[in-house]
Each structure stands twice: as C-alpha cells, then as structure tokens.
Amino acid sequence: MTDLPVIPPTLVPDEADEGLRNEIRAWIRENDPGPPPSSYVEKMHALTEWQAALHAAGFIGLSWPEEYGGAGRPLSAEAVLAEELAFSTRPQLINRLALYTWGPTIFDWGTDEQKTRFLPGMLDASEQWCQGFSEPEAGSDLASVRTTALRDGDELVVNGQKVWTSRAELSKWNGLLVRTDPDAERHRGLSVLLVDMESPGITVVGFPQVLDEPHFSEVFFDDVRVPVDNVLGGIDNGWSVAMAAMAYERGLFVLERQIGLRRRFDELTARLVADGRAEDELERLGILYAELDLLRSQVYRTLAGQISGDLPVGSTSVDKLHLAHVYQHLYATAFDLLGEEAAATGEGDWAHDLLESRAVSIYSGTSEIQRNIIAAQLLGLK
C-alpha cells in the first residue's frame, strides 16, 4: 500500500449529456407504453418491443461507435439513459447482456466481420444474447469448465452442459466458454465461442430456482458445430476474453440495478407513508438511502475508470460486493417492516424479491470470490 489514499475520479457528465437527458425525458413522456404484462412470456415480448422503439428513437448504443449503429457518445451518455429509463414504466433493457457485456467485449476482441455480423442485432433486440460460463462442476472455479469444442476442419464440435443460463430460451446467440485444448493447463486451452442457439444439437431445459420461475436454463450441447470464424479473441485465448466480459458486467450493469433498487426503495417508502409509519422508521430509511446512494457513487467511480481506461484490476469486485449487500439488506428490511401481510399475501412482491435477492451474492462471482479478488488484486495478498 502507498502512504496515502487517493481520491478516485467520478463520473462527470458533459454539456451534451444534459441535452440528451432532456431529449430522452421528453421522448419517454410521449412514448411510455405503460407497465408490461405480468406473465413472463408476454413481458419478455413487450420489453423486446420497448427496446426496439428506443433504438428507433436513437437512444440505444449511445456509446457505441457510429459505424456499428451507435451514437459515438461517451459512456456517460449510457448512464443518462439508464437514469432516465428509471422514470419510465419499463426501466430495464431486455438485451442488456448484449449491450453492456458482449457488445463491448466484441469491440475489444472481435474481428471486423464479427463486429459487422453481431452488433446490429444487439441494438434493436432482434437478436438477444445469453452467456454460457457456469457448469455443474464449474461455478466459482470457472477455469475448470469441461464443455469441449474440438476442431474438425473449419468447425469446432461442442459437447457438454452449461447451467444457470439466463434467458437461454429467448436468445439467438450465446457467448460460450469452452475447453479447446483438453491437455493444456487450466487457464489455457479455453476459448470463447459465439454460438447460434438455433444450431442442431442444442437443448434448452428450464431450470427452476427457488421461485420456480423460468429465468434460468440448463443448456446441453451434443455435437454442436460452430464455425471457427465464431471464435472470439482467438482459439485458446478464452480466459482473457471471459475475464474482459466479466469486467463489463459491472459499470452500467450495476448502475441499472442500483436504479431498480432505488425504485423499489421508493415503493417501500410509499407503503410506509400510506400506513402512517414512515416517520417512525427514519433511521432504517436513512441507512437504506445512504447505502443505496453509496452504491451509486461507486458505480460512478467505475464508469469514470472505464471511460479513462485506468480502472484498477479487481476494483469492480467492490461494486459487486456492495451491490449484493444493499440488494439483500433492502428486501430483508422491507420484509421485516411489512411483516405478516407481506409474507401471507405476496403483496408488493416483497417476499418474492427477498427470496430472489439471495442469488445476488452468488451469480457473476460469489461474494467470497469477490473477496478473494480484492485480497489478491487490491491488497496484493497471495
């Protein structure tokens, strides 16, 4: 450690961002179609249409290069979009995994042909994306993946199983981590493939989690043939590509979640105000507010680092760790405050969201893994 701490950069909007903010706000006021249907399938369809409409209005891919259909603005413009979408009835972008993770990863690692092929469909949500990293025997220990992709001429033949794949049934493409050299050392011999989910040999099986909802799937690959041209970042270079993709799972991704949590926090407050209890709960409201706002500050720090390109390795683990804490604390507090009614009736989805919140300290690297990363990368502990 150095002698002194250093105050890190924070996200600073530019003049154009404020103009954009007004533009988006006015457009949403005119075009917000109202809350999506509650049924899962209909909701997914409605959210796909919503992203397409936002794209047609010029608000998707704001930070992407113009040659790939973006607006060529700085990353701060994406933060403005996320913040303004928060005031709509449909705050989440259905294809955010593509927009926030796989699109930027393809910018960094993709060939020109891959950029031309894959990026446009991400923007209008006509081609949705999922991610195939976790396996039954490779969760936190990601480098132990067993799904293989063996070369056969100009193709790779994939066999194996992935698990916890979000929205696999909706996706056209899968960013898939596979082992291309079974004899290589663990972190070598891996590759990332961009796999067409309509390929013969792929079977998607719903994998109900604690809520018995179809968010996740198991995906089975039986002799699935993938063109070598769909390898991202080169054969046997998958570990670096996967780590780059995971780094993009912070920043805008966490900002979107922070905004979503803030909306739910406001809903909790509305309920307490309606019951005449808010004044009695100022301390708990204050703690939740402060923790949520600190998460926003941390995301702004990460976005600033992503813009300048000097984000310390491992620093986004702090974002994930605090996100998990705030997420679980908010819903636990809400459930505790609303008590028997929330438990008995499901009113407000507070019990649902408390149950769901347990996933946040597990997915995308458990909190324990985040602590390992912080200890190794930020503190230099071996």
Partner: protein, 359 residues
C-alpha cells in the same frame, strides 16, 4: 489545480506530518492529554494556517477539493483536529469577519501564537443559525482564544477570553485533540458572520476525508501485519477468515473514497443533490471507517489491543469524528429525514437527477 498537482501537494503535507507525528510521539501526547510537542511550531513553519486563505491574503488559493484531499493526510497522520480546523475553517472565518479584532486574532493564528477550534451544528442546521444559549462540544487548542460554531447560513465566533464564556476542558476520546465544553452566558462574547455556507460544507467534507485517512492508516498497519505474523506455520493472511476481513476493509475504504469523490464534484458544481448525498455520507463514511479500525484491531489479535502498538489512535480519532458528525443513529435519522422530505416534495420516481454537470 489538476489531479497530479493536488497529489503532490497532499504528499508534501504528508511528508511533513509523517516526519513529525510518528506513533511513539502520538502515544506520548495522548497519554499526556495534549497535542504532540512541537507540532504547532512545525505547522506554523509550513504556513499551514493560511492554506485556505486566498492568494491575495497570503494563502494558497486552494479549492475545496484540494482542502478535502489534504484532510486525508491530516487523518492519516492524526494531526490534532483543532490544528486542522484552525486552517480550514477558523482562519477563513476570521478573514470573513473583517473586524479589527478578528484581524489581530488572524495574525496571531498565522504566527502560531494563538489557536482555536470549533464545532458545527447538525447538517443542515435547523434553524440555520446556531443557538447562542447552547453548550457546544469541540476540540480546542491549549492556546485557543477564539472558537467558532458553524451553521449553514451564518456562524458564530466566540471570544474565549470574554466575560461570560465558560470552557470546561475534557479528555475526549481522541486524546491528543481533546474536547472542551463551551458555554456562553453573555452574548457580548459572540459575533455573527453571515454567508458561511462554504465553510460549513467544507468542514463536513474535511471531517469525512479525515475519517478515511485514519481508516487508511489502520489498514496500512493491518495488511503487513497479516502477511508477516505467522500462526499454525503460515502467515495469517493466508487464512481466508483473515484475508476476507482485510478485503472487506479495503472495500469499505474504496466505497468511502468513491462517495467522497462524488460529493466533491457535486459541491464544486453547486448541484442540488449535494445536501442529500452529504447526509448519506455522514452516516456511511464514519460507520465504514470505524468498522475498518475495529477489524484492524481484530486482525492484530492481542497486539492490536495494546497501548504501545497505537492502533487505537486511529480508532479513537474516528469515534470522535463520528460523534462530532452526530453519531450513527442520529446521522441515519437525518439521512432518512432528508430523503423523506425530498420524496414527499417531489414524489416517487421523479426525484431530480443532478449529477453536477461539467466541472
């Protein structure tokens, strides 16, 4: 001043402080219940008391961000808080007062022949003016002749040598800064200074930065200790129970710094979000930095609980600062009050977004 120049400035201050305030010196002062010997002279030679004054008045013309960054060093090296506040708050207030008496006191402060100290009413003060009939707890220099009480709209200067001013010297938790209770029974001892919002906000930001600096000091002791101390045949940092605790400490530090960074930007750009964000940080930063110190003591085992090791000095400093800001319960309630007021005046889902604009 750009980031590199600011870092050099802060490093220069830290070098001076590190050369003067090592743990043995601080422990000796703490046991004696006073500031380390020679620290005022060292700071006077540095021109410390003038740093927040404009260049036209012999100062450095520093911006708020510079002063907040310097407070990282005051916390890191445990400069007595009255010395910190004399430079950051008292000197600008005396200059702003503009009276001949204040001018004399400012000269003596800059010469190092007199000192002071002060406190702030809770943020945001309600009413905006401190109540002169209150009693205030504040760190006061042994040679203090002026105290201040900061308010968001206007502040008070108290002539400590005037009739009707009662000063009770207390030990405090931060032993080398000390604490005093100041009561005024004759209003003639008090003068009012208008438009002190800048100093008021700056004081809160500097106290928060000071907390972060102190927590960093504790973490900077804990990490090498854990890598060197062996138990069961290996360094204790190799036990996940210890390394994860250290990781949580580092995460808490980074979160505090990120909050401070955003607050500085909002304050610099007069964002309407400044007050709400400050409210949140007045709860989170002292809480997180306090936990860092508590974990540092735990990581050190019995060593961390000894007087001689000095880890308690950082802990004491943050406990005192947390109390000065209002304490965890009260700051949480104030954050809740502020949030609820904003929520009820603007409505759900329509809270204003004001990221401060371009700086």
């Amino acid at each position: 001043m750009n980031a590199v120049e600011r870092a050099e400035l802060v490093q220069g201050l830290d070098d001076v402080l590190a050369g003067t305030l090592d743990i043995p010196v601080l422990l000796e002062a703490a046991r004696a219940g006073g500031a380390p010997l020679g620290i005022r002279r060292a700071m006077t030679e540095l021109g410390w008391a003038s740093i927040a004054l404009p260049e036209t008045e012999g100062g450095l013309g520093l911006e708020a961000a510079d002063l907040v960054a310097m407070s990282l060093a005051t916390g890191r090296r445990l400069l007595p808080t009255f010395l910190r506040d004399e430079a950051l708050v008292l000197a600008p207030l005396l200059l702003k007062s503009g009276t001949p008496e204040a001018g004399v006191k400012l000269t003596r402060l800059l010469e190092g022949t007199a000192g002071g100290g002060g406190a702030a009413v809770p943020f945001p003060g309600d009413p905006g003016t401190p109540d002169p009939t209150d009693a205030w707890y504040m760190p006061l220099a042994p040679e203090a002749e002026t105290a201040y009480v900061l308010g968001p709209d206007r502040s008070l200067l108290i002539d400590l040598s005037a009739p009707g001013v009662h000063v009770d010297r207390l030990s405090g938790t931060d032993l080398s800064s000390g604490q005093s209770r100041v009561r005024v029974t004759d209003s003639a001892a008090i003068s009012t200074i208008e438009a002190t919002g800048r100093e008021y906000l700056l004081w809160f930001m500097c106290v928060l930065a000071d907390c972060v600096g102190s927590a960093y000091g504790a973490l900077a002791m804990a990490v090498p200790f854990a890598t060197e101390r062996e138990q069961f045949g290996r360094p204790i940092a190799r036990f996940q129970a210890v390394s994860h605790r250290l990781a949580d400490m580092r995460a808490a530090l980074d979160l505090s710094l990120s909050g401070l960074s955003r607050l500085i930007h909002l304050a610099e750009t007069d964002s309407s979000e400044t007050a709400a964000v400050l409210h949140g940080l007045c709860f989170t930063v002292p809480s997180l930095t306090r936990e860092i110190c508590e974990s540092a003591i735990q990581v050190h085992g019995g060593t961390g609980f000894t007087w001689e090791y000095g880890l308690h000095l950082f802990y004491r400093r943050i406990l005192q600062s947390q109390a000065a800001l209002g304490g965890p319960v009260e700051t949480a309630r104030r954050a809740g009050r502020r949030y609820l007021d904003d929520y009820q005046s603007v409505g759900p889902g329509s809270a204003p977004v004001d990221n401060g604009g371009p700086s």
